[in-house]
Subunit: 282 residues, 2 copies
Amino acid sequence: MIGVYDSGYGGLSVLRQLRAVLPRHDFIYLGDSGRAPYGGRNSDTILDFSEQCVERLFEEGCRLVVVACHTVSCVALRHLQRRYVPNAEAPRRILGVTIPAAEAAVAQSTGHIGVIGTTRTIGSTTFSLEIAKLGPHRVTGHAAPLLAPIVEEGWADTDIARLAVQRYVDRFEDIDVLVLACTHYPLLLPAFQKAVGPGVQVLDPSPHVARRLVDWLTRHPGFTEPGQGKLSLLCTGDPEQFRIHGEKFLGGELPRVQHIAEEQGRLAHRDRMQVVIGQVVR
Amino acid sequence: MIGVYDSGYGGLSVLRQLRAVLPRHDFIYLGDSGRAPYGGRNSDTILDFSEQCVERLFEEGCRLVVVACHTVSCVALRHLQRRYVPNAEAPRRILGVTIPAAEAAVAQSTGHIGVIGTTRTIGSTTFSLEIAKLGPHRVTGHAAPLLAPIVEEGWADTDIARLAVQRYVDRFEDIDVLVLACTHYPLLLPAFQKAVGPGVQVLDPSPHVARRLVDWLTRHPGFTEPGQGKLSLLCTGDPEQFRIHGEKFLGGELPRVQHIAEEQGRLAHRDRMQVVIGQVVR
């Protein structure tokens, strides 16, 4: 069973690609939708949340976790790997999305790569650092803090989305590839393609992430075995909202979503979502 | 000295009104901008953050704290009051914005009040509960999760903001007053006024909050004394960003902003903002 961790719904667009190339594998997806968005949060908070989520997936029996969220991959992946994968003999592994995305960008660009993502993804400069290891390409990053909320609101196919995408895209000059470094952005692909115009390729990294995972599994047998193509879903927010929003990202109906919530520093299962009305007193 | 606490910049629009009616009082404003927005967060997190912020203002010497944030006022005010103001002899007090806003709405409405705010503010139904204590008015609330981020992005005066406001306002039917139950929304006032059309009053509660505070101070002498009209600012996010964004809300230049950050469950002063580049390892 492969664990897939994201800050919310967006990573389901990555999971979709992973299931397409590994149809017989079982997946368990954990979306931290109750605490999303991560993009504007401070680093310590992102480290705390990501530890809780990865530990939950390990407890579910995963030996391999894919961090589908670009913010977590850019900020916290090395921390998670140092903490949970101390050496080459460690029984568990954690993979991210930044390096596959950087590799795909370098393969497609002849000079100047644009990267668009959350404030924290862009502020980390991790994409620039990873691309610099692969080639002499110039990299320009711009944060687009409104785009994930617009997609979460279900407004991807509105003039609001198109105007916002255009406004952010206009900040880039002379790029030939634009990396969508947030798992929400594939839902804005038509808006991006229109906004960049001809001559610029809009790159959704998730198919590349999926291909690199297949390579990795070939080179690292034993971390997961094909199963029955089952999918389990956990989320920290409202499971019903998760199910409704999630369909757009996964491209099909979702199975039952199990609610989990923070309890003394870990993510515990809950029988049902606690809906708080009025003032909360504890 | 009066403490004013908000999740970010927005409460500066309330502070502006407070300083207008109490020009000789000293104020200290704490904006939790590093952890904003609160609106989509779970209740436990909001309680934790609000405790830290209120405690920080008490440590600064405030005996009176005004919670300027509607999300915190709707969700956590009773909790804060029970924790820090256990009885009528307690040396400190905490006031919110919900009741003054509800009173102003009831005074202006002849029947059906609309309330627009964050997901958590609307989900709490606290406005309905408070309005029900004051009169037989019907109340309809709708969450507008994109509006605060649009204002924070500096896009209040764009077509994106106008289209989003229109889309949210269209969800209300037959209201005669629309309460702007988020401190960011006064910056969208022209868009709201245009969107509601004639016959609906758009209500910014902050002048009413200021007037009710003056009444309260008359009835409760000793919690604060007039000073020299000084203003101090603390924030958990980037102080320079806070200064730039804050000017729009305060309506004038901000004094130096001091950075504070979470450290072992409390908000400690920091000499300078820690900017993290690349992967974070701890």
